[in-house]
Homo-oligomer: 139 residues x 3
């Protein structure tokens, strides 16, 4: 068994889903991992990880807009408001999605479904420098 690791750096420009699949697949190819597990970890509290529909761009729009409806900004009951209207909702939205994902690797590729893509979900309105920790256990 072997262990590979790297940190993926992503610059975000406001709320929304940013594709991660190509950069993750490139690492697996470079490391020549044939089979095993890929672990992704998000060390932030106002951005998260999501695996969802990667084909129709209207699906992506709806996932993004769903968060505005599920966890609306500017609620009277928010206590954590010092950093702006998007601050408390960003933590709540991150809590409802994922900070860690574990994806099987087979035949040198991620075993994503045909319509799946991996995304970083940025919940803050302003630009941020984000990191995604990537680990691979090669069997």
């Amino acid at each position: 068994m072997n262990w590979f690791k790297d940190t993926i750096h992503i610059k975000t420009h406001g709320k929304g889903l940013y594709p991660l699949t190509p950069v993750i697949e490139a690492h697996i190819k470079q490391w020549e991992v044939r089979e095993g597990m890929c672990y992704l970890y998000m060390p932030h509290t106002s951005a998260s990880l999501v695996i969802s529909e990667n084909y129709d761009p209207t699906a992506k729009l709806d996932l993004e807009e769903a968060m505005e409806h599920l966890v609306p900004e500017k609620q009277a009951w928010f206590h954590h408001t010092l950093e702006g209207a998007d601050d408390s909702p960003s933590h709540i939205r991150a809590m409802l999605t994922n900070v860690s994902l574990s994806i099987p690797i087979d035949n040198g590729r991620l075993s994503l479904g045909s319509w799946q893509g991996i995304y970083l979900f940025e919940h803050r309105a302003r630009s941020h420098q984000r990191n995604v920790l990537m680990r691979c256990l090669s069997i």
Copy 2:
């Protein structure tokens, strides 16, 4: 350390929770995994994985109905509507639950809690053929 893998095939007949625990336990027994980790991965964007209450059938009903209230169908703001009223909600509901789960194995069994069961959560109204990728790391 050893590595075991298989794909579990489930035919779904409309929205709801479908039990996965027995078929997963059967694989662990057959592979004779005594200790390690069981990884489950869902390669679909309109079905997901959930671990929840397995005893009282009314709890299952409430989990299913909760999704209709949290993410109702036919919202005016949906863009992704070509494949039916249950399409966009199915991606959003999958995003709020899980595509990957990691469960410890001890003494040859999944270390589920007394009241826990593993379920495939089908979010589409029509029948679908679903796959669940199962991987076991045996220590």
Copy 3:
């Protein structure tokens, strides 16, 4: 590669987020795990795991209160009501958060972000004895 395991016992006193980071870090230090993965598993259906903001206590308050708004108690459509008003909402809230987490270990520590803490999210109003299964794969 090495494998370490223990069960963390937490007594909860009503709804809310209970910090887990110190006890998990202490285990990693004691086991002298330098690099690998830490797996956390929650064998309960009315409590869950969350990684979120650990600095400002008002963020914690908002995460807790968010659940009361997302999944309110005493809905007319609940079927599962025998064990009290907080029973069905507790399963739904657990479903929306996590039962399993996988966190990288580097240089003998969890690779949490600067503002991240690991929490047990108790969804029941009464006191409960909770267990968290902790497994470490040391590379």
